[in-house]
Symmetry: C2
Subunit: 145 residues, 2 copies
DNA sequence: TGAATGTATTTGCATAGGAAAAAATATCTA
DNA sequence: TAGATATTTTTTCCTATGCAAATACATTCA
């Protein structure tokens, strides 16, 4: 069982991830909140939500709202975990807070699960050995070019 | 001096990077070689090359070839360095060879130079302390889900 | 040199993503 | 409960990327 029926695109993942987080935190996900969080217009979210419904990630009733299917839930959870891991990683190696969110947003959709697993090991390792972080931080200087 | 006139898109960067590498290794870059390397059709490369000419990254003479401007050279060099760094990083933390190229291809366009600098520190640190790599490798086990 | 072959370019089409304005529906409040 | 307000959806348009077929050009070799 390898790459079943077409992977979700980056934008699809962004939406699923965001919807999952909104449902976790508030119990529901409105079009306008999703749009706000993703910095796109509500009309774009509506279009995407319709596609995600067609693809079985959620159930959409126009004007009334949406809920994630178990497929959508499972994926959402995984995506949020991945996102958090990557934020932890960048933070741990000393990337400035102002760059973290945008960078993670950019790369999260483009790493194999193999890479994610290896980065998870690394994060664990660095968290368990804070003295390594100090040594790492001593190297810091940037190229600013 | 911050974000001057519109950053190159990922596809633009891919082309510039590839053209730079071809010129380094063979002295010139043909449309068909670029297309081959990027797994797109020559017609797509022609279109992109025309845009890169318009944007001042290279000089294009139809049917005759192209050369990078100094702006294109400088960027190409930087992009190749970044690509190589990211390959080193993934390799160093134990990502399987079969995933490395594609992952780097995916993420290289989405990291701030701040993150790149920090990853460079980390790579240096791990290269200088091979015992850490061993310890890191002991953690390896994947989630395969 | 002049056809055959190899390359490059043009043209037309398709897809994904998203903006903006207009229309539809829902919700709130007086 | 009927407007007023807020939200969502539809429609139209745009940009970026890339494929495929048709065309143009360049090179080679007989």
């Amino acid at each position: 069982m390898k790459g079943r029926l077409s992977m979700p695109t980056p934008s699809m993942e962004d939406h699923i991830e965001q919807i999952y987080m909104l449902i976790e935190s508030k119990g529901y996900a409105r079009v306008s909140d999703i749009a706000e969080a993703l910095s796109v217009l509500p009309s774009s979210v509506t279009k995407m939500v319709q596609k995600l419904d067609k693809d079985g990630f959620l159930i959409y009733e126009k004007y009334r709202g949406l809920t994630l299917t178990s497929k959508g839930m499972k994926l959402g959870k995984k995506l949020v975990k991945r996102h958090d891991l990557l934020e932890d990683f960048l933070r741990l190696i000393g990337v400035k807070e102002e760059n973290i969110y945008e960078d993670v947003e950019g790369i999260e959709h483009h790493l194999s699960w193999n890479s994610i697993d290896r980065i998870a090991d690394l994060v664990l390792f660095l968290e368990e050995n804070p003295e390594l972080q100090s040594k790492l931080f001593e190297l810091q200087q940037d190229s600013s070019n």
